[in-house]
Symmetry: C2
Subunit: 432 residues, 2 copies
């Protein structure tokens, strides 16, 4: 039985989880690989910090460069995060001829092309199952399981914090700020929640999913990103009434004109399975030209689930280490530089919500403002505003129109005397 020597960069939640799986499930791992994993070195930031996991006689160091340079390390496991030092260390590990396993979505979304091409040149593997949707083997599904397909689209709930908040907001009257504070108290949201609730984390993951789905380069810079902080209790209630759930989706869709890459709150029909994914759970749905729709569901974060993906990568690397040819990092031997659509070119049906004054001809005014941009109203709901003003709360579902037309229509609506304040727009995806 061969021994595979591992150097860990980072011993936080995921690092500790990885070490624990390698210890607890050593037998099942040997049965799967005919190999034994031995952690020889671990780089940590603070040598004196107490650890929840037993590091035995593994050499701990606060010099991560010594780990990526060590002769007794075959595979570097990068679990420190960030795009500065992590990038330097990963590239240096590759240069040293070591395989790399990483959970670092930001690094790959922003510098993946550089990392993967360095690895291909040097003939080593960079595995990253843990970088998207934690414990769900979605990288493997897209890269290998669906390899017969031309992928049409990918849509995912890929941030557990955001999905937890939206799930809790379904409670009558629960508003975003209150639910966010509750999520922070429970440890589901960070003190600074921007990264999660504004969609940046989801955009990193979507960048990787799109590259895998379409064989295109990693284009984080081209992802249109909107957060969920502007969603209100009214929106949750109206969406429910109209047969939808509001989910914060990452969407990558191939059209004849190009690829759209976007993260935004989205109405999806309740009878689509993705609509039933609640709480901190993640799920990725995709549509292949041959297989049709498939969905992958599971925990998207946490020590156990993320480390499960890290260790699955180690098993893959172990299986491939005696092998000349491996699966290319993004599933394709070469990427195709597909055009990425401007958000203005993307076509969606929309949910619109606004306050209208109770005056004659108001309906005619806003329906003609929409019609002028080629937008028709598929469904309308109107109810008296509870503030006693006599104003009406209006909710519309439109047909599918280009974002540019919708933007112009919203500006027209907001300019109307009869409409108070701004227009809430949430895009609809039917996912079929």
């Amino acid at each position: 039985m061969k021994t595979i020597k591992l150097g860990l960069l980072g011993l936080g939640t995921v690092g500790g989880g990885t070490l624990r799986i390698l210890q607890d499930n050593a037998e099942v791992l040997s049965q799967r690989t005919n190999a034994r994993f031995e952690v020889t070195r671990i780089a940590v930031r603070d040598l004196n910090k107490p650890r929840a996991v037993d590091t035995g006689d593994i050499a701990l160091t606060d010099d991560p460069r010594s780990v990526v340079d060590a002769a007794d390390v075959n595979v570097v496991v990068e679990l420190m995060g960030g795009t500065g030092l992590a990038r330097e260390l990963v590239l240096r590990a590759i240069e040293n001829g070591k395989h790399v396993v990483t959970a670092n979505k930001a690094l790959l979304a922003e510098h993946g092309d550089e990392v993967f091409s360095a690895a291909a040149r040097r003939g080593v593997q960079v595995a990253y199952e843990a970088a998207v949707a934690g414990g769900i083997p979605i990288i493997k599904a897209l890269r290998e399981g669906l390899s017969a397909n031309r992928i049409d689209w990918v849509a995912g709930i890929i941030n557990g914090t955001g999905n937890y908040i939206l799930t809790e907001m379904k409670q009558p009257g629960a508003d975003f700020d209150a639910v966010l504070r509750q999520a922070q108290a429970l440890g589901y949201a960070e003190a600074d929640p921007t990264f999660d609730v504004e969609g940046i984390d989801a955009a990193h993951k979507l960048t990787i999913l799109a590259a895998l789905a379409f064989g295109m380069p990693l284009r984080f810079d081209r992802v249109h990103t909107e957060g969920i902080s502007r969603i209100t209790a009214d929106d949750m209630r109206f969406a429910d009434m109209l047969g939808y759930e509001i989910k914060h989706l990452g969407i990558a869709r191939r059209t004849d004109a190009g690829v759209s890459l976007r993260v935004h709150p989205t109405l999806i029909p309740k009878d689509v399975l993705l609509a039933s994914v609640s709480g901190v759970m993640n799920a990725v749905m995709t549509h292949g030209d041959q297989v049709g729709p498939t969905l992958y569901y599971g925990p998207g974060a946490g020590a156990g689930p993320t480390a499960s993906a890290v260790v699955a990568d180690l098993v893959d690397v172990a299986r491939g280490m005696t092998c000349g040819e491996t699966v290319p990092a993004l599933g394709f031997r070469e990427t195709t530089d597909l055009p990425v659509l401007e958000m203005e070119q993307v076509e969606c049906a929309c949910y619109l919500r606004f306050l209208a004054k109770d005056a004659p001809g108001v309906l005619a005014q806003f329906s003609s403002a929409l019609a002028d941009e080629g937008i028709s109203i598929e469904h309308m709901h109107q109810e008296p505003c509870e503030d006693g003003s006599g104003d009406a709360l209006v909710v519309l579902i439109t047909n599918v129109v280009p974002e540019a037309a919708m933007n112009r229509a919203i500006r027209r609506l907001e300019a109307l005397e009869a409409i108070d304040g701004s227009v809430q727009r949430i895009r609809i995806e039917t996912l079929n």
Copy 2:
């Protein structure tokens, strides 16, 4: 670019779908593999049958042995089905040093140990992603994606016909026979539906899933199998009222005493994602000790989805053909002969439904019959029978008890004067 020469056995729905993907998606397949797939030979039963797919100048033959013996075939793709001739041909292809891709669940469930060990001896691959849940890459997920885990259980909706029937039976008053006839008219059920509705097809697939999950031999002979034909409109209604869906599940669960392998109608809580899987779709849920619950959803049958899995296997074989070490067929290098529980040893909560005479002391009679076997009633619902007899329709949810105790309790109940006819028992799984 290397060329990989394929010999197809069978050109029915899946064979035709496979040929079409190889033609239509040739470019994406080359981008993924650096190889070109060429179908050189196809064995069919009837050379004169008209074909929906263009076979061009591929050599068609009605002698399948000539395909598995041909020098210009590197990979044999077995899509003919059955366990007689198919077994002989697959073993002969392996003996001839050819890789095999198959969609044949019956062959693997019943003769997989023989097939896989022949392949391991000869150093060739047998790939079978299409054998379970059609287009869903569940084999890869269990074998590779979750390889860090000790799998606790697998539970799947793995027969689309049965799930379609149960979904349609949710319409008020729809009964099994009427829905089955409708499914037959739509082509979702065969003229002889036994294989699907009695759970034999699901048992074949469950056998394979259990071997993958636990690294155990293929024990089709030990799967307890019950069909859905005894489920009534009343059961659907009561399940709904109590917060459950009835699904026909294949369940493999590891306990300290052994593994339980069973296919039977099952009540699952509505808030478990599996409960939302409707129509002909399939889904497999699994629980790993590290990752927790994950779920895989998609179309379980049909030309496109099944061929999607066949071609993904071809891509894997192509990637591995220059490689010394490959993933073992069942994910483990060696299987462990885990004890399989007798059904009497399996522990479940149960839903019981029966007719009780409207007489004093009836409740005491049946609750003490249950208590005598250590069974408690967690929930009870009673309503007058619509036939005007004065009898009551009684529905109970019990605590978790061994099947043997429940069997004895049901015999006690059926022996009571106060109970009319037989007791309907449906097992409950909370899937957590």
